[in-house]
Symmetry: none
């Protein structure tokens, strides 16, 4: 069973977008549009992680956070438009495990959610074709029962591919996945890592070149 994520967010656009991205990343999602409903759903479903907007109508986000902490120690990713350092600190004090200021890139949130799930030991190995499994907790990759020795960049690329199979990644996006905030490295570098990864995965690697666009991992 995939981990369940509870999103507590009053703006339907944001909640919907986030939800779609999380589902594409193989997670299950429940939505609550206000704090009270959020707590109800939390008790009912006991999700593995909560994404919580700190600016909520009615019962405020910080109050929800406090209540969540009393109910257990579920990992919480706090979203907020507040730029105030003060509020941010208050969020951390109350035990938000990560904090994402709006506006954000959905992929960034997905990535942080995965990281937190990894840290809490929740989550399952990602799967690909040909008996390929990638476990981000132990950071191990296997293919058909054999262990694959991947370098950090290869691991990062394969994670991106397995998180979003069949999606075309531009070289720029893949550089992002490699953690290059500033794009001062040549995009051709990606090609080299792709080549190394393909070599280690063997002939049936599943990494397709999309001429003029980038690369795509085909699941089947």
């Amino acid at each position: 069973m995939q981990p369940l994520i509870l999103i507590v967010e009053d703006e339907p656009d944001i909640a919907g977008t986030l939800g779609r991205y999380l589902e594409r990343a193989g997670l299950r999602v429940v939505l609550a549009h206000d704090g009270r409903r959020g707590l109800e759903l939390f008790v009912e479903h006991r999700p593995s992680l909560v994404i919580l907007d700190l600016m909520l109508p009615g019962l405020g986000g910080l109050e929800v956070l406090r209540s969540l902490r009393l109910l257990g120690s579920v990992p919480v990713v706090a979203l907020t438009a507040l730029v105030s350092q003060n509020d941010r600190l208050r969020g951390f004090e109350l035990g938000a495990d990560d904090y994402v200021p709006k506006p954000f890139y959905p992929l960034e949130v997905v990535s942080r959610v995965q990281a937190l799930l990894r840290r809490s030991g929740v989550g399952r190995p990602l799967e690909g074709r040909g008996g390929l499994t990638l476990d981000s907790v132990s950071r191990r990759v296997q293919q058909g029962g054999h262990h694959l020795e991947l370098r950090p960049s290869e691991f990062a690329l394969l994670s991106a591919f397995l998180l979003f199979p069949d999606r075309v990644f531009s070289r720029s996006e893949l550089l992002d996945a490699l953690g290059h905030e500033t794009h001062d490295t040549l995009e051709r570098t990606v090609d080299v890592h792709i080549r190394n990864l393909r070599q280690k995965l063997g002939p049936d690697h599943g990494i397709c070149t999309v001429f003029g666009s980038g690369y795509r991992y085909e699941r089947a």
Copy 2:
């Protein structure tokens, strides 16, 4: 159903941190911020174990301990900043099953909780490869029948590894496990402790370096 731990602690930081660590170790947690609420929650939830701060506002920790003893025979881990031998003795007299002076390594508390649960008939002993055993109550480590003399930091690291074998710990997480709330120490410090630990464990230490990520303890 996982064992439920009740934490009675007025400082939110400590309670939150402890709670999260316990949760990650697969335990369920409820928090009370004062003694009165602690007793209420105890009656309500009947937890398998209580972590009790002896210095509480209002109803004092020792009074709570006495009340708990009247209510049943739940195992109690006492936390306190008091260095007085006298208070420590009074805690034991009243039946605290274990006693952890502040400041403590969060993972050490987790480890002691696990050990106490084991002694109450829940759970299993902490074991590693090559006949390695770690008893957090007596604070002793053995390997193949031989006693190993570990320093506090090495003990904390090994506890983390044995609690979560096969999981990759970043240096930052390991610093957490060492109780460094503020990350003012260099992450390279971890490397040195790792080296010392490896040396004491011998050639088959099982602590793998995960290049670019951290360290992992391999069970087999």
